[in-house]
């Protein structure tokens, strides 16, 4: 299978303090990869570096075979990212924001409206798209960020704590869609503290502890007799 995301010997420091100490992982086409670890383990730092927000000292990040450092535009064109707390442009309405994202990713006019309609209906945000984002609740902003991520049909989706703030129905819809798009060839790399979801949803899992991967592999191979939660807590 073609690797969509390759992280090789990745190091990241803040000043003198090394946060991520040489991690290696690979997300193949069609895979859902769960990235777990305790608070401050370096998950968000890794994710932010992978998507091009943060610079990093050494190592290599390849997205669809292209290097994020040397070819950032090509990398960003094929991926979508949602942070743990998606702050969006509050002065825009929901629909203006989605169209803004569509314009930047070059989503063709003919597919734009049906895609927005489908996603907005699925996440139950269709009647609120004309409202100003400043009037949205946290969960609604999260839903809008999800629509904006799915609307340009990325090959790789990188999500940081995607289930935080979502109501049960939206969380269920998201899980269903994540599986669906991966079956269609997309890859997903996401971090989460909800270990039950990771266990059920992910094809592969990596556990990060103090900047190092302490366990990585196929989810089925990792959880044989114990739950992911027990394994995770056993590593503490």
């Amino acid at each position: 299978m073609k690797p969509m995301l390759e992280i090789k010997n990745f190091h990241k420091s803040y000043g003198q303090k090394e946060i991520v100490k040489g991690i290696n992982l690979e997300v193949n086409q069609g895979e859902i990869f769960g990235f777990i670890g305790h608070n401050g383990a370096g998950k968000t730092t890794t994710i932010r570096s992978v998507v091009g927000i943060l610079d990093f000292e050494s190592g290599e990040v390849l997205i669809d075979g292209k290097n994020i450092k040397t070819d950032p535009i090509a990398c960003k064109q094929v991926m979508a990212y949602i942070p743990d707390n998606p702050d969006l442009y509050e002065h825009l309405t929901g629909i203006k924001y989605i169209n803004f994202i569509c314009d930047l990713y070059g989503v063709p006019n003919e597919v734009r409206l049906p895609r927005i309609q489908e996603l907005a209906k699925e996440l139950e945000l269709d009647t609120n798209l004309g409202d100003s984002i400043s009037s949205y609740s946290h969960g609604m902003k999260q839903k809008l960020a999800l629509i904006s991520a799915f609307v340009h049909a990325p090959k790789l989706l990188i999500l940081d704590e995607p289930f935080v703030g979502l109501d049960p129905k939206a969380a269920f819809t998201l899980k269903k869609r994540m599986r669906k798009i991966c079956d269609e060839g997309c890859s997903i790399f996401f971090s989460s503290h909800v270990l039950e979801v990771v266990e059920k949803l992910c094809d592969k899992v990596a556990i990060l502890k103090e900047g190092q991967i302490v366990l990585q592999g196929e989810t089925d191979e990792i959880i044989r007799n114990e739950s992911l939660e027990e394994i995770f807590l056993g590593l503490e």
Partner: protein
Amino acid sequence: MKKFFEIAKIQIINMVRSTTRSGSKNSKGIFLLVVILGGLIFASATYSMGIYSGIPAGYKDFVLYTMATASVLIVFIFSITTAQGQLFQFKDFDLLMTLPISRTMVFLAKVLSFVVIMLVYCFLFMLPALVIYGVNESMGILYYVYGIVGLFFLPLIPIVISSLFAFIIRKLAGHGKYKNLLVNLGSIILFAAIMLGSMSLSSLEGTTIPEEVFVTGLMLIKTYLYPIYIYIHSCISGNIIELVLSILINGGVFALFVYLFSKTFVSINSTVQTGYKAKNFKLKKEEGKSPLQALCEKEFKKFTSNMMYFMNMGMGQVMLVLGGAYLVFNKQMVFEMLTQFESLGFQIKPTLFGLICGAICLFALMTPTASVSISLEGKQFWITKTIPVKTETIFLSKAIVNAVIIWIPSMIGFILISVGFGFTMFELIVGLLLIFVLGIFVGILGLCININFPKLDFDREIIVIKQSMSSFIAIFGGMVVGALLIFLYVNVSEFVGPFNFVMIIVSILSALDILLWMYLRTVGVRKFCELY
């Protein structure tokens, strides 16, 4: 009372800290702040000295009345925009409302932090005048004591009036789809009224003989600005009753304002914090745009939807158009003024052309919207960092929006003046060329400043717009460049002529546009990538 002081202390610390950059380069920020404040005190002292020397004997105290009025006017103008964010749109509203402290105390703590900032402006402009007058007139220690004590109360009434205006504008705007547009429109009307009012006063002054100007001026201050009059008079005469009366008037109005508004500010803030909700929204097909167009549209919406941004960075352009229209309708007054230059060997028309170009430069330099545009990305910076668009395109969109904000009003104003005063076609073209390169210059220069002094971590956007190092450097730096241009114009245009002087400036600005863009494409892009 202890709780109140704790809250007030935190509010003031927040406001002061937000002025400088956090992190290792804090000392650099503080140094620049000191340099700028020093520059302002120097400018204020020079201005006060100039007025003092120019006033005939017997009317020297007029310098104090003039500078006190100027300080009050400055506080009034600055606080119109600050009041919107500080009193009616503050981010820690939810937190403060849940604390076990009365609403009056919360409101007073908010107002107090606002008063502290306005006091800084007041002291910057008034203190040099107090010292200059005191030293030259050999005033006693009581004069200085009264001067400083009274000064603490001087900005209170303008703060109250501007807060009332801010409140009325907010109330009228409501929270519909066009709320921001209405707030901006209301503010423009208010500024236009202030500007036209001061212009009418200055035209009245021109018709009176010099000594009568002082008598009339003093009468006007005594009648319409009584708290200012009584404060200055108490300092000069050493009358403690007048000083106490001045404190009571200023303090009383302020106390009444705090008492009344502490009852309504909760409902105002609740209304302001509710965003617009559309009725019966239906999805429609929209035409796609290029990434540059989409980014420009987003930037422009940001500018027009944020009242603080619009008022602080765009008001110069509104004033330019209004001023242009005023000059055209008062042509005779302009020609009378310029006859003074004629006696010095200058020709009226070319001199007018040079002066108008100078004014356009000054107003454009005071419109550096791009100088805070990177900082204003704030918590949404992750979007800009992850979109598949070159950093140069992001820079270009911000520079283009700044340039357009300068181009359209400046060109309207200049064409209006060109037609009104009969400039030649050649002058019209050169003037428009100047506006074109100037707009690009201000946009790119603003970005160069902002990329070196970014501030992405802030609680409220007003902190970036009004108090960040980047906006400070851009606005006051712009004023310095404007003053430098005027200085050069006065000294160089005599030899080369106003028209050739403007041509030289156009050439210099064009070269600077290219150089600064090259800087942005190299160093700027690198700094942007490192930023977060």
